[in-house]
Amino acid sequence: MTAVQEKPKAVAPSGPPPRRRGKRATALAGTDKLVLALMLGIPAVVHLLFVWVPTLGSIALSFSRWNGIGGLEDIEWIGVANYVEIFSEYPRFWPAVQHNLIWLLFLLVVPTTAGLLLAVLLDRELRFSRIYQSALYMPMVLSLALVGFIWQLIYTPDGGLLNSLLGLSADPVDWIGDSDINLYAVLVAAAWRHTGYIMLLYLAGLKSVDPALKEAAALDGASSAQTFFRVTFPVMKPVNIVVAVVTVIEALRAFDIVYVINKGRNGLELLSVLVTDNIIGEASRIGRGSAVAVILLTISLGVIIPYLYQVFSKENRT
C-alpha cells in the first residue's frame, strides 16, 4: 500500500528537462527534483523495507504454519487457526496478557504520579535544583537489561540489600524466584528508570505553561492546589498525551529486563517474550509467534493512531 505510493514520486523527476529557466523562482530544476527525490526516497525505502514490510510480514505469517527454517514454499496457510489456538489453548498467553496489563497499569500509576510530583516540586527557583534533576534522570541512561542486572543485586535472597534492610536475612524472601511477587519486584526496577523520563516530560510541560494563567487564577483567589488541578494540569494536555503514549508503548515493549532475569518464565511471561521465543527460544512456531505479534500491533496502533491524529491535525491547521 504505502510502497505503491512511493513509486510515482521517484519516477516523476526524470520528466521535465533539466536546466529549464523556470518562470517562477520557486519552480525546481530537474536535477534539484532528482536530488530531492533521492533525499526522500532512499530513507523512505530503508524505512519501508525494514520496518513496514516486516510488519506486513507478521500479519501474513500469523495465518500460517511454518518452522521458519525451511524455504518459503514450506509455509502452510491455515487461516485463523493460530488465533483460535492462542485464545483457547496456549497456556502462556493469558498470563502474558495479564502481566502486560499489570505492567501498563503500574507504569501509568506509579512513575507518572511520582514523576509529576517531582516535576511540580522542581519547577521553581530552587537551590541545587540541577543536582536533584541529574540524580533523578540518571537511571534513564541505563539500558533495561542493565537495570535488571543491577537490581538483582538488591533482590537476591543471599545477601541482597532488600532482605538485609527488612531484616529478613534469616528467612529470606526470594523476590525474583517467587512467581507471586517477582512481577512487582521487576516493575519497581522498571519504574525506577521510567520516573525520570516522566519527570523530564512534565518539567518541560510545566515550563511551557503561560505564567499569566497561574497569576490570573491566583488573583481570582484559587489556592495552589486548585490552580494546579484546574488550570495547569488541563493546559498540559499535549504533555499528558505524550506521557500516555510513551507509557503504553513502553509497557508493550517490555522485554529486556525480564529476559535478563529469567528469560521471561515463572511469573514473568510477557507478550514480547512469547514472540521472541519462536526465534531464539525453544518454541519455533513462527505462525503462532506472529499472531501474538499482530495482537501487539493491534494494541499499539490503538494508541499510535490517535497520537498521530492529535499531532498532525494540529499541523494542518497552522
Binding site: L36, M39, L40, L49, L122, E125, Y137, L161, L201, F255
Partner: protein, 300 residues
C-alpha cells in the same frame, strides 16, 4: 504534600527567607535522590569488595578493604574490550547514517510541499512507535534471505552480521529523528531558503550548507540520545546476531552472567563497566540529552 509545599514558593521569591516548608522540600528531595541513587551506589559498593570479604561477612556489612580488582577481573574474564569494539562498530555508523538520512527527510518534508508530505512524516513517526516484536520475526527471516558478498559480511547474509543490526537501527531510529528535526526545521524562516533558491543555490546546497548548520544544537541533542539508545539496544542484536562473539556489549551481558558465575561482586563490576560509556555521556552531555527528549515531546 504538594499543596503545603507550593505556597511558600511565591513568598520566598520575594524575601528569600528560610521557611520550614522550604527545608521540608529540600529534605524530601535529598531523600528521594538518595533512594534513586541507591541501586547504583550499592552496585559500586559491591564491586569494590573482595569475594572473600563478602562471602564471609555478607554484602550488608562494612567492607574490610576496598579494591579495584573486580573491575580488572571482569574486564579480562568478560573479554570486555572485544565487546566494546563490537558495539563501536555498530553504534558509530548507525548513529551517523541515522542523522544524515533523517535530516534529509526532515529537510524535504519541512521545506517543500508535495502530495505525500504529511503521509510520509506520519509513516516515519508511526514506525518508530511500533514495539520491536511486531517486526522482529519476519525481519529475522528476511535477513537470512538477503545474501551478501563475503567482504560485506562474514556470514554472507544480513543475519549474524553487524551490518544487519546497523540497518535496523537506522530504519527504526529514523522515525524519531525525522520527527524532531522536521519540527525544528519548520521554525527556520522560509525566507532563508527562498533567498538562497533565488540566488541559484541547488537543493543539496540549501540542505547541506544552509539548513544543517542551523540545526547543530538539535543534531547534537539527537546524537547524544541516539548514542545511548543504540548502545543500550538489547533485542536487535540478541535476535539478529547468533554468534555470541559478535554481539555488542549490552546483549553480551546475557552471556557474561554465565561467565561470571555467581560472583555478585564481579557481576556488579561488569555491569558498571558496561554502564560506564552511557554514564559518561550523561554527565558530560546532560543538557543535550535532556534537550533531545524534550524536543521530542513538546513540538518546537
Amino acid at each position: 504534600m504538594t499543596a503545603t509545599l507550593e505556597r511558600p514558593s511565591v513568598a520566598v521569591r520575594k524575601k528569600r527567607s528560610v521557611t520550614p516548608a522550604r527545608v521540608a522540600l529540600h529534605v524530601f528531595l535529598v531523600l528521594t535522590c538518595l533512594m534513586t541513587l541507591t541501586p547504583l551506589l550499592w552496585a559500586v559498593y559491591a564491586s569494590l569488595r573482595t569475594y572473600e570479604d563478602t562471602s564471609v561477612n555478607g554484602y550488608f556489612s562494612i567492607a574490610k578493604s576496598l579494591t579495584f580488582e573486580n573491575f580488572a577481573k571482569a574486564w579480562e574474564i568478560g573479554d570486555l574490550p572485544h565487546f566494546y569494539w563490537n558495539t563501536f562498530l555498530i553504534t558509530v555508523p548507525a548513529l551517523i547514517l541515522t542523522l544524515v538520512l533523517s535530516s534529509m527527510v526532515a529537510f524535504g518534508v519541512s521545506r517543500f510541499s508535495f502530495k505525500f508530505n504529511i503521509a510520509l512524516l506520519m509513516l516515519f513517526t508511526a514506525g518508530n512507535l511500533l514495539p520491536q516484536q511486531v517486526i522482529v520475526t519476519p525481519l529475522w527471516r528476511l535477513y537470512r534471505l538477503i545474501e551478501l558478498p563475503a567482504w560485506m559480511s562474514e556470514s554472507e547474509s544480513l543475519i549474524d552480521s553487524p551490518l544487519g543490526v546497523i540497518l535496523i537501527h537506522i530504519a527504526f531510529q529514523m522515525g524519531f529523528c525525522t520527527f524532531v528535526l522536521s519540527n525544528y526545521m519548520k521554525t527556520i524562516p522560509y525566507e532563508l531558503t527562498e533567498a538562497a533558491r533565488v540566488d541559484g543555490a541547488s537543493v543539496f546546497r540549501q540542505y547541506w550548507q544552509l539548513t544543517l548548520p542551523l540545526c547543530r544544537p538539535v543534531l547534537a541533542a539527537l546524537a547524544t540520545l541516539e548514542f545511548t539508545w543504540i548502545y543500550n539496544d538489547f533485542l536487535w542484536a540478541l535476535v539478529l546476531i547468533q554468534d555470541g562473539d559478535k554481539m555488542p556489549v549490552t546483549s553480551a551481558l546475557q552471556n557474561l552472567k554465565g561467565t561470571f558465575f555467581t560472583d555478585n561482586n564481579l557481576i556488579a563490576a561488569g555491569s558498571l563497566l558496561v554502564a560506564l560509556p552511557t554514564l559518561v555521556v550523561f554527565f558530560v552531555l546532560q543538557r543535550q540529552f535532556v534537550g533531545g527528549l524534550t524536543l521530542g515531546s513538546t513540538k518546537g
